[in-house]
């Protein structure tokens, strides 16, 4: 199977096949023999070029969070079609700011139509005993404020749409 992969700003081509109980992963043209065993939960034991690695691989959609020791690396994978590759390159467009946890909206700091800078506060949400100011991830214009002050929000609830 062929995939397009991305780590940070680096793009890779990956081909995976099975061979004698192990995997052959061809990364950017170079084949590597990888002996990967899935152990408990998300933990894999990987033998690669004579070294042993214990990694955990957590899948969230098409993104994989790979941990080794205290280190982490996000790897995005898509199928190797043009559409898949495009998806890994895609940026910009309207952006929904969602709540990462249930909480209560205590203050709105912006109104629809307002221009905001990256880092500017949009909304204050109270959760886990703290008031948290949600800052804009980028400069843009507020297209929509989807909540009102005092409203209780669930995890994943749309708060603000930036364009």
């Amino acid at each position: 199977m062929k995939f397009a992969a991305r780590t940070g700003e680096t793009h890779h081509e990956v081909l995976v096949t099975r061979e004698d109980g192990a995997y052959v992963v061809t990364l950017d043209g170079t084949p590597h023999r990888v002996d990967a065993r899935k152990l408990e939960a998300d933990f894999y034991s990987i033998l690669f070029e004579g070294r042993s690695y214990e990694v955990s691989v957590e899948a969230v959609g098409g993104r994989y969070l790979v941990r080794h020791g205290a280190h982490e690396q996000v790897v995005e994978l898509a199928d190797a079609s043009r559409e898949g590759r495009d998806e890994l390159h895609r940026k910009g467009g309207p952006e929904e700011i969602v709540s990462v946890m249930p909480g209560k909206v205590v203050r709105l700091l912006v109104t629809p139509g307002q221009e905001v800078q990256a880092g500017q506060g949009l909304i204050v949400v109270e959760a886990m005993k703290m008031e948290n100011e949600i800052a804009s991830p980028r400069a843009g214009r507020v297209a929509e404020v989807a909540v009102t002050s005092g409203q209780t929000v669930e995890s994943g609830a749309k708060l603000v749409v930036l364009e």
Binding site: H12, V14, L27, A41, I46, S56, G69, M101
Partner: protein, 497 residues
């Protein structure tokens, strides 16, 4: 000794108290909210009583329900842990009225130290230095006037508060109106009391605190200091004992100051006197925490004492078996608070379900945890998951050992502070002991995600194999495509402060 102790708390500290009780041969009662039915402390205790809905104000802060739970379970003492009702003198009084021993200080000492303004006056009279400040402030204009008198920068603080909530640093008069409103609002939600006062902000301060133990016969000794300078939002992340900035002479001086502070309010039980140490070596009293501290294990590791057992024995009327000369530190201990927050996005809370967890082990490692693999971290309470403590013969060994243990520790499924702690342990400024409460602001690289170049190749290989296996499983079920990217990747909220 008591027959049965109720622990009016949850999470890792409830477990910590249960462990002390077990060693003393005392039975335990856990209380839990509906959100904590699956929490670890419920699994460890002898008896359990549900005390209400998830919101803390309806359960862990509800005095009549906790007293009733103690009566139903037949507990003759209550240990409050830290946070929640631990510094609430009305709770201590209610315990007394119900004929239940409160494992903590007398009501009068809690009252004297609980009000930040009154405690400053008491300390001044006892000859303990305090930071110049103000009485409770009526409004932002009043605050600006007092700030002008003591000189900017100043720190706004909640009169009834603690734990960093309701606190704001103000650097110029122009910032006062909005920051005053924020501090007041947070004080009101956190403590139900919106009184706010201010203090002069000590520049590049270290947070130093002294542990004291006092028995009912007026005997009080100190157990050296802890340094807790690495903080976010005025809340501690990493603590250690001893402080790299303090020698034996200074230790004896500030220890004596802490004992004076405790004796000034007639203190009994374990308590902590918090101080700020300025650039110039000056010490100022900040407040006395009339309870067990989160970071008590570093003192336990260095002094070989069990502070929780000592608290329970004092509450049962036993005298302290030590004199000050018996109290000698050995080696160095560091604690990392493993929290469900994302340090790389401004320490935004990150609750969720822990998919897999592996605790570290080996020489010199202590793991005080309230969670397990499969546990869903409730959103209703503070984000502390566990405390990882490393002891070493010296500070270098403790830090190296901590880094080793952080590499062994795995908490999958939610964002945690593990990687952040790992960066701190090898950071040159941390290793040099050049700490102050602005440490994280001074070293922003500690809270920035890095791509680990050496990890990239192995990560791509591992992810590719995992993806391949997943697609194989899906195609066996007749599904031809993997799910597309989730909202996790598309809509990334950025939190700060």
């Amino acid at each position: 000794m008591f027959r049965k102790v109720l622990i009016a708390n949850r999470g890792e500290i409830a477990l910590r108290v249960i462990r002390a009780c077990r060693e003393l041969g005392v039975q335990t009662v856990a209380v839990y909210s509906e959100a904590d039915r699956e929490s670890l402390h419920v699994r460890f205790a002898d008896d359990d009583v549900c005390i209400g809905p998830p919101a803390a104000r309806d359960s862990y802060l509800k005095i009549p329900r906790i007293i009733a739970a103690a009566e139903i379970a037949g507990a003759d003492a209550i240990h409050p842990g830290y946070g929640f009702l631990s510094e609430n003198h009305e709770f201590a009084r209610a315990c007394g009225e119900a004929g239940i021993v409160f494992v903590g200080p007398p009501v009068s000492a809690m009252q004297a130290m609980g009000d930040k303004v009154a405690s400053r006056e008491l300390m001044t009279r006892a000859g303990v230095a305090v930071v110049p400040g103000s009485p409770p402030l009526s409004d932002a204009a009043d605050a600006a006037q007092h700030a002008k008198r003591v000189g900017y920068p100043v720190l706004l603080k909640a009169s009834a508060g603690g734990g960093g909530r309701g606190m704001r640093a103000v650097h110029a008069a122009a910032e006062m109106p909005s920051l005053f409103a924020q501090a007041q609002g947070e004080a009101r939600t956190a403590f139900g009391d919106d009184r706010v006062f201010l203090e002069k902000l000590v520049v590049r301060p270290r947070h130093i605190e002294v542990q004291v133990l006092a028995d009912g016969e007026g005997h009080c000794i100190h157990w050296g200091e802890r340094e807790c300078s690495i903080q976010r939002r005025h809340q501690k992340l990493i603590e250690e004992a001893p402080s790299p900035a303090i020698d034996a002479t200074t230790r004896a001086e500030i220890g004596a100051m802490a004992v004076r502070a405790a004796q000034a309010c007639g203190y009994v039980s374990a308590g902590t006197v918090e101080m700020l140490r300025g650039d110039d070596g000056s010490f100022y009293f900040m407040e006395m925490n009339t309870r067990l501290q989160v970071e008590h294990p570093v003192t336990e590791m260095v002094y070989g004492i069990d502070l929780v057992k000592a608290m329970i024995e004092i509450a049962a009327g036993r005298p302290l078996p030590w004199s000050q000369a018996d109290v000698v530190p050995r080696g160095h201990a560091i604690e990392c608070r493993i929290i469900a927050e994302d340090p790389e996005r401004g320490f935004v809370p990150a609750p969720g379900t822990i998919r897999a967890l592996r605790a570290p082990g080996g020489p010199g490692i202590r793991w005080d945890s309230g969670v397990y693999g499969g546990f869903t971290v409730p959103v209703h309470y503070d984000p502390l998951l566990a405390k990882l403590v490393a002891w070493g013969a010296d500070r270098d060994e403790a830090a190296t050992r901590m880094a080793r243990a952080l590499d062994e520790l795995r908490v999958d499924g939610i964002k945690t502070s593990i990687r952040f702690h790992r960066r701190v342990m090898t950071h040159p400024a941390f290793r040099a002991g050049a700490l102050h409460t602005g440490f994280l602001a001074e070293h922003p690289e500690l809270t920035q995600a890095e791509d680990d170049p050496w990890l990239q190749e192995i990560a791509v290989l591992a992810a590719a194999v995992a993806h391949f296996r997943r697609l194989e499983q899906l195609s066996a079920k007749g599904v031809t495509r993997a799910p597309r990217r989730s909202s996790w990747g598309r809509a990334v909220p950025v939190w700060r402060r």
